[in-house]
Symmetry: C2
DNA sequence: AGGAACATGTAACAAGTTACATGATTCA
DNA sequence: TGAATCATGTAACTTGTTACATGTTCCT
């Protein structure tokens, strides 16, 4: 039931509507939906309803066009904290990109090389993009204030891309050793 | 439909039964199920059935206890290759661990620190374990032969743990700056 | 003989995606 | 006034998990 906790975590930042939360998931902007968890509005609205029934959130404000803004309750905050600090022995993982990495060796060497080169290029490009965004965030940020929300996640993304980039290059070398020329 | 492709990828290594494939997913041994994709036998058996209907695999051998060994067909290999080399713009991602990382900043600083310390320790421990396994693999491997299956995935795991470890330490420093003492 | 591991399957439930459906407000 | 965006919801379908169910072979 991680969608519930994702929503609790986002609401911990401040009240938001289902529509706001849907955008937080949808972004191609290095947000939660790109790296951590995906959800569409058709799951988010019913889940918010159930969470309200369970007392984890309340509608704190209604706006135009039927907008309902949800806020965390103390119960919700407690549940979020419990989930964050409790490490389950086995967690949900479903990652198509990593799956491709696992299966690189099922391809013929030429195909594998092509795939790895594509991955390396893609990572380099994304890395450059994300790095410039993060540099900007850091430049605008007063070092005496708390880290801006999302900065830690951004750093994770950065290091993630670096790791995959390095891995692709390492793999190309390893594969290359078997086919001289 | 990534389960299908995960199965095709595993079968590219050689024929296997549903039971064999189930173990490949289930392992806590740094296998596909720990990092890339999870599946239980109750999904695997029906999927193998459908794949056989679609001509992607065939039962190449039957054994004791009703064992059915599946092998890739040419069609299956073509479909696997198509999927591997075709980069979709948006891929499935669902990762509870990364979700926690995204939400670290929803915790109070003390809790966040505790969580990050736990992550750093956990990564260091897993890294050490995996490194010794990979060192062993490398020691037993003739450098003139192709890279052993799983070695690239193992390297990915290694670099992944290193990245997360580094990230946790960096984040601790960043958080620490806001709360002196 | 009896337990562990091998081996396959189905059913009920939970979670997520895509498509369908509707309506209000804002802005040019 | 018309298009874009805001805003919420449901229904049908797909995918995955947990629980139920059964039978065989190997090893001690």
């Amino acid at each position: 039931m991680s969608l519930r906790h994702a929503l609790l975590g986002l609401l911990a930042q401040g009240p938001a509507s289902g529509y706001d939360l849907t955008r937080a998931f949808a972004g191609d902007d290095g947000g939660i939906g790109q790296y951590a968890w995906q959800a569409g509005h058709s799951r988010i609205y019913p889940e918010l309803g159930k969470m309200a029934d369970a007392g984890l959130v309340v509608v704190d404000e209604t706006g135009p066009r039927g907008r309902k803004s949800y806020a965390l309750t103390d119960e919700g905050r407690t549940e979020l904290r419990r989930w964050m600090l409790h490490r389950p022995e086995r967690t949900t993982v479903r990652d198509e990109t990593v799956l491709r990495m696992f299966l690189v060796q099922s391809l013929e060497p030429d195909d594998a090389r092509r795939l790895l080169e594509g991955i390396a290029e893609h990572c380099a490009a994304e890395l450059a993009k994300l790095r410039s965004v993060m540099d900007e965030v850091d430049a605008e940020h007063d070092p005496h204030e708390p880290v801006p929300f999302g900065r830690l996640a951004g750093e994770y993304g950065l290091r993630q891309y670096e790791a995959v980039h390095g891995w692709a290059l390492w793999s190309l070398e390893r594969l290359g050793a078997t086919v001289p020329g």
